[in-house]
Amino acid sequence: MARNRSRPLSPHLTIWKWGPHMAISILHRVTGNGLATAGVMGVIWWLMAAATGPEAYAAFIQCATSPVGYLVMIGISWFFFQHMMSGIRHWVLDMGAGYELHTNKTWSLVIPVLSTLATIALWATIFAGKI
C-alpha cells in the first residue's frame, strides 16, 4: 500500500512495554505454524508409512525413536498443548472476557506452565508404559 511518507505512522509496536500477553500471542502463531508444518507432516508420514508396508513403517519408527525423533515429538507435543491452551484463552477473549490487566497477565503466565506440565505428564505416561 502506497503511504505518504511525510505523514507520521502511529508508533503501535515500539511504545509498549513488553508483557506476557504479547509473548503468548506471538507463541500462539509460532506454535500454530509449527504444528501446521512439522506436526502435521509427522502424522501424515506415520499414516502413509502404515499404509505402505512393514518396511516403510520400520523406517518411520527408526527415525521417530531416534534421539532427534524423540526431541521433535516432545517439541511438537509441547507446541500442541501450548497452542491448545492459548486457543482456549482466545475463546474466552472472543467472548469479551478476561481483558482485565491482572487476569490477562495471570493467564498469560499460567498457560506455558500448564502446557509444560501436560507435556511432562504425557511423556511420563509413555515412558512409564515402556519400562
Binding site: G32, V43, L47, M48, A51, Y57, I61, M84, I88, G129
Partner: protein, 129 residues
C-alpha cells in the same frame, strides 16, 4: 484504503466480505480439533504398542478410521485458515502473497488427501497385509 469507492473495489482493495465466515470457521474447527486431536493423543499414549500390526488393526476399526479422517479434515481446514492470516500479515508483496496462498492451498489439499487415502487403504485392506 479504497474501502468505499467503486475504483477501490475494482482494484480489489478493502474488505472482500469473507472475513466473518473465515473467522467463524476458524473457531468451529478449533472446537473439533480440540476434541479429535486430544482423542488421538490419548489413544496413542494408552495403546499397548505402536508396532506395525497394532497400529494397522487399530486404524482398520471403523470407529477409529472415521474420526481419524474427520480429524485430518478439521486440522487441515484450521491450518489453512490460520496460515492464510499469517501470510496476509507478513507477506506484503501482492504477487508473492498470491503465490504463497496458492502453495498453501496445494499443501492443504495434498496433505489431507494423502492422509485420508492412507487411512482408507488400511481400513479397506484390513489389519493384515
Amino acid at each position: 484504503m479504497g474501502n468505499g469507492t467503486g475504483i477501490g473495489r475494482v482494484r480489489g482493495l478493502g474488505s472482500a466480505r469473507h472475513g466473518a465466515g473465515h473467522w467463524l470457521t476458524h473457531r468451529y474447527t478449533s472446537v473439533s480439533n480440540l476434541l479429535l486431536v486430544l482423542w488421538l493423543i490419548f489413544s496413542l499414549a494408552t495403546m499397548p504398542g505402536l508396532d506395525y500390526e497394532s497400529v494397522r488393526s487399530w486404524i482398520a476399526n471403523p470407529l477409529v478410521a472415521v474420526p481419524l479422517m474427520l480429524m485430518l479434515v478439521s486440522v487441515f481446514w484450521h491450518l489453512r485458515l490460520g496460515m492464510q492470516v499469517m501470510l496476509e500479515d507478513y507477506v506484503h508483496d501482492k504477487g508473492l502473497n498470491f503465490f504463497a496462498i496458492l502453495i498453501l492451498n496445494f499443501y492443504t489439499i495434498a496433505g489431507a488427501a494423502a492422509g485420508i487415502f492412507a487411512i482408507a487403504k488400511i481400513a479397506f485392506e484390513g489389519a493384515a497385509s
